[in-house]
């Protein structure tokens, strides 16, 4: 279980990026963080990855405090960030160097087959399309068999077809390992496609505005009525989160009236 409690982050320049974030995600759950830009989504993910320090509150994974990069936590960034001097296979195996050779190779082989890049194993990253590179990045994160997988808008730079196929690839790989997934997105239908729960965030300071369960059976079809309903619910919650807080709204209304 992933628990964020009273998590806060104020950057050195005084920007209050996150304030009092409380969030729980159970084993095997896919949680989506959704919100406009500047809500602190990336900040939250970097704290969970141990790449940055919180200025308040705690993060724990199965009871263990996360204070730095952790072996059971894997990250997929917004860009693939493959190492250009390693082949596709070696990129996938980058984080499992310590494993015995057979084990390492069989995990790589399996992951490459899962993402449909088995015949690209010996290629350089530069020879892959953007979508293929991002699949390799997802495989690289998941072959470490993490308990927590963090994804920061990993599909946002891709076109709709590529994105749909990557959703499939992600779910396939996720099936094998079943980690907790915490993924950032600003795409409502992506959240409804993948997540069991969506956390809607609002900005200045970043905090969680609402939490919506998504209980549709998988595989989810975007044209089904249930899907459309969930999309609508989520859009409404996002709209609400964009409104200024009560007091400000009252002041605005008053100003308008006056």
């Amino acid at each position: 279980m992933l628990t964020l409690s009273h998590l806060g982050k104020t950057y050195a320049d005084g920007t209050q990026a996150l304030s009092n974030i409380n969030l729980e995600a159970r084993a095997g759950e896919i949680a989506a963080l959704i919100g406009g830009s500047g809500c602190g989504k990336t900040t939250l993910l970097r704290l969970a990855a141990g790449l940055d320090h919180a200025t308040g509150g705690t993060i724990s994974l199965d009871g263990e405090r996360i204070t730095g990069p952790h072996p059971a936590v894997a990250v997929v960034f917004q860009e693939p960030r493959l190492l250009p001097w390693l082949t596709v296979a070696d990129n996938v195996g980058f984080g499992i160097d310590h494993l015995p050779r057979n084990e390492r190779e069989s995990r790589i082989e399996h992951a490459l087959a899962r993402i449909g890049l088995a015949e690209h194993a010996g290629r350089w990253p530069r020879d892959l399309s953007g979508g293929q590179q991002q699949r390799v990045a997802i495989a690289r994160a998941l072959v470490t068999r993490p308990k927590l997988l963090l994804l920061d808008e990993p599909f946002s730079a891709l076109d709709a077809f590529t994105r749909a196929s990557l959703h499939g690839a992600l779910l396939d790989l996720w099936e094998d390992v079943r980690p907790i997934v915490l993924m950032v997105t600003h795409d409502v239908s992506e959240a409804v496609t993948l997540a069991d729960r969506a956390f809607v965030m609002r900005a200045r300071p970043g905090r969680i505005h609402d939490e919506l369960p998504i209980t549709l059976a998988r595989p989810r079809v975007q044209t089904s009525t249930g899907f459309e309903q969930d999309v609508r619910r989520l859009l409404e919650a996002l709209d609400e989160a964009r409104q200024p807080p009560q007091t400000e709204r009252a002041a605005q209304a008053a100003g308008h009236w006056w």
């Binding site: 790449l51 001097w85 020879d127 076109d159 196929s165 499939g168 690839a169 396939d172 975007q222």
Partner: protein
């Protein structure tokens, strides 16, 4: 748009057709269409045509000069005709000491290159890695760099004598600066995002250096070594002018004193061939290390 999400399995989906189909799958060489790899056939024709054009002037001059001398329109004393240069070259190689001179020059360049490269890599690395050391070291080195290196010769002779040490040191100084600059620059321009990947995978400092930093700066380091080697060959001439009893530079000085223009030109040609061969060897030995690079390396 209807996109049933988990139906298309990764293995049989078509994101490639969406993003990259026609463009790079058939070529199988990469996204970048480069003149060298993209169309080898037309590339070769292009290259051949340019080679032919490029050769017209030097060949024309050589043939013209040869004809002028052999028909008695010119004496060929100040500039010997190609045939005489060739036979001098041949004589030097077969009966003279050409190989001794080549070896002497090559040895000086190699030792000087090794010293300069090691020092350049070491100082470049610490100056690139630590801001404090960079601020301490860099201004002084930049100031020293602007000294025309030939100006060091008198000092080096007084310090190291007129024999091998001063020659090798001069070459090392010439090699040092481009290597130092290239390595420091390479470290400064390492992609912070890749370093973060290393951090996320919890690499130790040593593993970070070996698995991320080193490969990342390799291309710039090799380019720097290459220009260092080129400068090494320029400096060895100056070093051998300081007074040497062997070496291609000695052949030049000797040719001047004895009025042997054919020997001078033969030595110049030997310098060119040696420098080119050393450069070719360096590129050939090191290019497998950076085959992953996106850009096609500067052509020979």
């Amino acid at each position: 748009m209807a996109l049933p999400n988990s139906l298309p399995r990764a293995a049989d989906t078509h994101d490639d057709t969406a993003t990259a189909a026609g463009s790079h799958e058939p070529a199988a060489t990469g996204v970048e269409p480069t003149p060298v790899t993209a169309s080898p056939a037309s590339g070769k024709g292009w290259f051949g045509e340019h080679l032919a054009l490029a050769l017209i002037l030097p060949l024309g001059l050589a043939i013209g000069w040869e004809a002028a001398v052999s028909f008695g329109y010119a004496e060929g004393r100040l500039m010997p005709p190609p045939s005489r240069i060739a036979s001098t070259f041949q004589d030097l190689a077969l009966y003279g000491d050409l190989w001794l001179h080549v070896w002497a020059t090559l040895w000086r360049v190699l030792v000087g290159f090794a010293l300069g490269a090691v020092a350049g890599i070491a100082l470049g690395a610490i100056s690139g890695a630590s801001g404090l050391i960079r601020n301490l070291l860099d201004p002084t080195l930049q100031a020293l760099r602007s000294v025309p290196s030939i100006a060091w010769i008198p000092l080096f002779i007084l310090w190291f004598g007129i024999f091998e040490t001063s020659k090798v040191m001069l070459i090392a100084v010439g090699v040092f600066f481009p290597v130092y600059l290239g390595v420091a620059q390479g470290i400064l321009s390492i992609d912070r995002k890749l370093v973060e990947v290393g951090r996320a995978f919890r690499l130790s400092r040593l593993a970070m250096a070996r698995r991320i930093l080193l490969p990342a700066i390799l291309p710039e380091t090799l380019t720097a070594l290459r220009s260092g080697l080129g400068l090494g060959f320029m400096f060895v001439v100056a070093a051998e002018f300081m007074g040497a009893s062997e070496g291609l530079g000695y052949l030049l000085v000797d040719g001047q004193q004895m009025g042997l223009t054919d020997q001078i030109v033969a030595a110049i040609i030997a310098f060119a061939l040696l420098g080119k061969a050393a450069d070719w060897l360096l590129v050939t030995l090191t290019s497998p290390l950076i085959r992953w690079q996106d850009t096609v390396r500067e052509r020979l």
